[in-house]
Symmetry: none
Subunit: 211 residues, 4 copies
């Protein structure tokens, strides 16, 4: 529970490098060798510091979650008393920031996305700390915006929102082929346009005409 270590220790370098590599290659295809080489550490150091490849992975995930939520909280930093449309956009923008990266190394969102597709036992933790809060926040807003829908319908709407937020990380490779212009935009730009679009599309989708 201590705050990692003192200086930029081997341990920290391993964590940093491992995150990048797990994200890029997936758990199985990532190799301890590559991680240690890039971190300038000994081949045995992973086992020394984290007991296991699994242990390293769990630590990477945990610290990634921690830092991601510190920087981009679920509510996007928007006050609970702001109008619901603003709060919605806050959640969406914050989600996209975590997902598509910004100034944080870009692999963080990628790691999460990968966890979704191929859970590793760490999933419950992620759900508890990231997915659940967002999920609940959105449920509240949808209830506020579309009180006439029944419970399942509202839940489905929440999924529609999350789906849109995820998709642009998830299908990155395809989008690049189908619409090259998109890939040419800066991250900042993409996030800006996306949060605007998703918010609009969602508000309309929820039934009111807010556009």
């Amino acid at each position: 529970m201590s705050v990692s270590s003192e200086s930029e220790s081997t341990r920290d370098r391993l964590l940093e490098v491992a995150g990048r590599i797990f994200a890029r290659r997936g758990f199985k295809a990532a190799t301890i060798r590559e991680i240690c080489e890039q971190a300038g550490a000994n081949l045995a150091s992973v086992n020394y510091h984290f007991r296991d490849k699994d242990g390293l992975y769990a630590e990477v995930l945990a610290s990634t979650i921690r830092r991601a939520l510190e920087r981009y909280p679920a509510d996007g930093g928007v006050s609970r008393r702001a109008p619901v449309t603003e709060r919605l956009e806050g959640v969406i923008r914050s989600f996209l920031q975590r997902t598509l990266g910004l100034d944080e190394p870009e692999w963080k969102g990628c790691l999460m996305a990968r966890e979704l597709a191929e859970p590793s036992g760490a999933l419950p933790k992620i759900i508890q700390e990231v997915a659940r809060p967002v999920h609940d926040l959105l449920l509240e807003m949808v209830a506020e915006l579309a009180p006439e829908r029944n419970e399942e319908e509202r839940w489905l709407c929440v999924q529609s929102i999350i789906a849109q937020c995820h998709f642009f990380r998830h299908a990155e490779a395809v989008l690049e082929v189908l619409r090259p212009q998109w890939a040419e935009l800066s991250k900042q730009d993409r996030i800006e346009r996306l949060s605007g679009h998703i918010t609009q599309f969602t508000l309309r989708g929820l039934g009111g005409v807010h556009g």
Copy 2:
């Protein structure tokens, strides 16, 4: 009409089993050994029939695409002269069928989802044969339903649709935790409710008032 094995050719059994295993474990983590064992074939048979692990994977992907599109074509079998709302629901339902499986072995959609997250060189083929047609079909419909939007906005709307269709396969593991009731529904039921919801949400999202 039996499920599999027995008198099928070795080649076909390999293809069938490999599909399931690649989907479950991913390319790297899947082992030729496991595939051959489950297919009741010799360890060298993959090399004989498909030259490579890569060759096997490519074949699995190709035959999966082929059969998925035969059974559930991009337009969902809805006539081009039907009203646009029906055509839209056709595309969405067909997409969900391919994605969430139905009576076809369930792993097929999973394979595709995985390919998106972690392209293997076969991606261009998938795009050409599956993603592009759906993409173009949806672009047309959105242009028809929301002619006042500019080109980028219409493209973003198309992505919102596709995002929703993908999500329920992609986040299966999480949904199961967040809403156990959902996992208890039959596949058929889920697809039914989803295609209804996504169509509605989308039609509204596009700005018309169809709700």
Copy 3:
């Protein structure tokens, strides 16, 4: 004992191709697959026609010997009544022809050379049919040219002759680097100069001054 087969059959093509490939790669590194592919034959045809990879190799060797000696007999076709210097040059030139090839496909000598370095069980046959006759012929000539030497000395002289004849095939790769001009000569030219040189060097080496 029959003369191979009737037409340019699969069997003959296998023999031809196998000779080239065994010569180029050595027995172990040569693969039945490559041989069959290049011969346009089925993968199983080697086993069908020659029982074994070993069987194929033995056949290749045997037919190579047979044809090499037909074309370039040990005595080089020089009459036994010719002067000894002519007979010597006959043996040397014929040896070089077999070794360095001429119009016959070049791999034949190479195959033999390889057999020397890495005997395969077929060596006794080669010795009996090729090496021994040449050896005995040379022994006679040396006895004639240097009768004053004792038996071991004469035998060593014979080896010196054979050594020179072998060397230019054997060290081809090195000679090409150490003296590029040499590699640029035509085969014909090289054989001409070599047989001249070796004959002179040998006659002098044997003690008389014949140059």
Copy 4:
């Protein structure tokens, strides 16, 4: 001073054993398994210490060259101011020592011979460090002994010398059949007689009358 094994490092044992086995079987036919077993090392140790089978082979070759030339330098340790006949015999004797072994493990020369027949990419190194110096040394001597010959003739004479030195290693298997007495001599004896014979034969062959 003990022959091998026991307290030597794994790396050294691998090198020693690998040399023997590569020499006996050739690169392709030699197996890492056999090497590791005989060296009492783990199957993965070759990969650990030399990265590759190729890496191991290269190291074996390099260390063999290094040690061979340390012990038996190209000039045979004879002073440059000694008479040319002595210098010639020095080169020849040293060559035979390297080639036929003496107290060094016998496979060393064999490795080289094999490399000539079937170059592996390491050939250039061998040429540079072994063949070239000997070649140049001999060229000088021949120029001194037979200044009246033209340049190509002198080069051919050098090859005649080298050919003789190589042959008795190269054709070992055949000589054993054709002259069993020869194989019964001690290595030392054989080298003694050979260097005498080759030197004489060569001096005469070069045209002077030294016999």
